[in-house]
């Protein structure tokens, strides 16, 4: 989908000799370039200062010597690689746990969202957009409040286990809250729309005639799905994986609200180092490690689908 914008007639490659009648076009092309830069400048400069610069500063901080921020002095850049070794040796297991929880949640999200998106896209008929709206509507409620509600639902005397326990169907000391299951369930719930959206978008634009053509060629329903629908929905699957997995790995709201100290995720550690312990260089190193890991995934995504893929754009819009 990364084709050039429709309006390219003003673009002339450098070094191409133009006939005399078209000499003016190069000046026009140059004017268009200038116009583009002028319009781009305000937003572009803001993004450099508000997004690129912070990322540079955090890398800089992660290589500085500890303890100077808190005294009000300036951090001293000293190629302090030990911040990284400390971060990895002390919190390597928490990184792995975050990846594990996020990975399971991503798989469950895909497994639940795909059949739903498939049915709505192929059999929703004129209720298609209404049904899909019903999926998104719950997410108008603030992320934090939604997570807090699961506390009430999953609590050991909450809406589900309270009645089950009074009926004697579940042992009295049974609890899901404060276990990894609760944290993963919370992540799965909260990131479901990020899986459902791109899947729906990619499934919805599959031409149904292709499936019919496969069936005309004696493909069974299952084969038609496996050989036609599934491959055509790959951009959606890939976008869903990145849109769920990346934020889920950095998430800590679910683990704080629904989990216990034994389910601590890396986001919580980063937050504690920054906001409670004020050990900025180690905190920055922890954050940069997460960023690099996620960057690898993001770059693979960009390689496969390009940075202009409309699945992602449609999904976030």
């Amino acid at each position: 989908m990364s084709q050039a914008p429709a309006e390219v007639e003003g673009h002339i490659p450098e070094g191409v000799e133009l006939p005399p009648a078209r000499q003016g076009e190069r000046a026009l092309a140059r004017r268009r370039q200038t116009a583009a830069y002028i319009q781009l400048a305000p937003g572009g400069i803001y993004m450099i200062l508000g997004f690129v610069l912070p990322l540079i500063i955090i890398v800089y901080t992660s290589l500085s010597t500890a303890g100077l921020f808190t005294t009000g002095g300036r951090s001293v850049f000293s190629w302090e690689w030990s911040n990284y070794t400390t971060a990895l040796s002390s919190y390597g297991d928490i990184y792995l746990r975050s990846l594990l929880y996020a990975g399971i949640a991503t798989a469950v999200c895909l497994g639940l969202a795909y059949p739903m998106a498939y049915w709505i896209a192929f059999y929703g008929g004129r209720w298609k957009s209404t049904l899909f709206m019903l999926i998104l509507v719950p997410f108008f409620v603030s992320f934090v409040i939604r997570t807090v509600q699961w506390n009430f639902i999953l609590g050991s005397n909450g809406l589900i286990f309270g009645p089950l326990k009074s009926l004697g169907l579940v042992p009295q000391d049974f609890t899901i809250l404060r276990t990894p299951v609760a944290v993963i369930a919370g992540i799965t719930y909260n990131f479901m729309p990020f899986a459902a959206l791109p899947l729906y978008v990619s499934l919805e634009r599959i031409d149904h005639r292709l499936v019919e053509a496969a069936k005309d060629l004696y493909a069974s329903k299952a084969t038609a799905f496996r050989k036609v629908v599934l491959p055509l929905s790959f951009p959606g699957i890939f976008a869903a994986i990145i849109l769920v997995f990346v934020p889920a790995t950095g998430d800590y709201v679910n683990s704080v609200v629904l989990g216990s100290p034994r389910t601590t995720m890396i986001g919580q550690v980063i937050q504690d180092f920054f906001l409670v312990r004020h050990e900025y260089p180690i905190a920055a190193a922890l954050s940069v490690i997460l960023m690099l890991g996620m960057l690898v995934i993001a770059v693979i995504y960009a390689r496969v689908l390009g940075t202009e893929d409309s699945t992602l754009a449609a999904a976030t819009a």
Binding site: P42, G43, M47, F51, V141, F274, S310
Partner: protein, 293 residues
């Protein structure tokens, strides 16, 4: 396709009509989808129902309890009862509207340029926008905090941004621009360039052609970008929690309150914001329907 139908009709008298398969399996997907919709809506229903919960008087300030006792409207009547919550909501709104407006202003031009022009650095700009969306919030939040702290300690040109309202505003604009830009870009790329050319052929100068033809066409994209920025700002927890200093927005205050238990007014305000969101989305859909007809 029509020929297939005709053949079917012709062959009916010869071959015995196959009874349409009525296997139970065809109910799996619709039932599953409805179950999923119920599952996704369940916490929201719980939130709304618990805003009517009667909370036993313990003498202390009211905290939501797990047991549900039906029903009271007293929390709705005392919607402004918790001053800290009111303050947090006020800050949320005071950040969200200017942040969404400024991000829309800046992001619209970025989206327009990316959709309309070819220029050196276009791929780089696209990549930065992609990164701004793909980078985990926790990384962006901690990076912004590191920047504000650096600024605060080094004060280049005597400039610095204190942690609080201003740092929250600056951060929210920073992460919203990219979302507005891709929303507008998607709309501009779908734009038929010949419309603008036609306007210019009819002696509209480029400015008139832009304001009378292009802008009305991409306006839904801009409005969608603005609403998206508004929702992102109102709902943001992770980035705000890093840069908020000692102030609180609605989500960060609720998060802080979970340790002791949330007051029932949180359910009430959650419901109010939810209904406002549904209302805005409904309006957008009606507008889109109207534009199609």
């Amino acid at each position: 396709m029509s020929t297939v139908v005709v053949e079917d009709v012709v062959t009916i008298p010869e071959a015995p009509m196959r009874t349409p398969r009525k296997r139970w399996t065809r109910f799996i997907l619709p039932v599953f989808t409805i179950a999923m919709i119920v599952y996704l809506a369940f916490p929201v229903l719980v939130m709304i129902v618990y805003s009517f919960n009667i909370i036993p008087n313990t003498g202390e300030s009211e905290r939501q309890t797990t047991e549900f006792h039906c029903c009271t409207i007293v929390h709705w009547q005392e919607i402004f009862k918790v001053p800290e919550l009111n303050h947090a909501l006020a800050i949320s709104l005071a950040v969200a509207f200017p942040a969404a407006l400024i991000a829309t202003g800046l992001g619209t031009f970025v989206g327009l340029v990316l959709g309309r022009y070819r220029f050196r650095g276009r791929a780089l700009t696209n990549f930065v926008i992609f990164l701004a969306i793909a980078v985990p919030e926790i990384v962006l939040g901690s990076s912004l905090l590191a920047m504000f702290v650096q600024l605060g300690s080094s004060k280049p040109l005597g400039l610095y941004i204190p942690l609080g309202y201003w740092s929250i505003l600056v951060s929210h604009i920073a992460f919203s621009i990219a979302f507005v830009a891709i929303t507008v870009r998607a709309r501009v790329q779908g734009l038929d360039q010949s419309m603008e050319n036609a306007a210019q052929d009819l002696f509209a100068n480029p400015r008139v052609a832009f304001f009378r033809v292009t802008l009305p066409i991409i306006l839904p994209g801009i409005v969608a970008g603005f609403l998206l920025a508004l929702v992102l700002s109102l709902d943001d927890f992770v980035i705000t929690n890093f840069v908020k200093g000692s102030s609180s927005t609605f989500p960060t205050w609720v998060f802080g309150a979970t340790r002791l238990g949330v007051p029932p007014q949180v359910n009430v305000w959650g419901t109010v914001l939810f209904l406002a969101g549904v209302f805005a989305a409904g309006l957008q859909i009606l507008r889109a329907r109207g534009a199609e007809d």
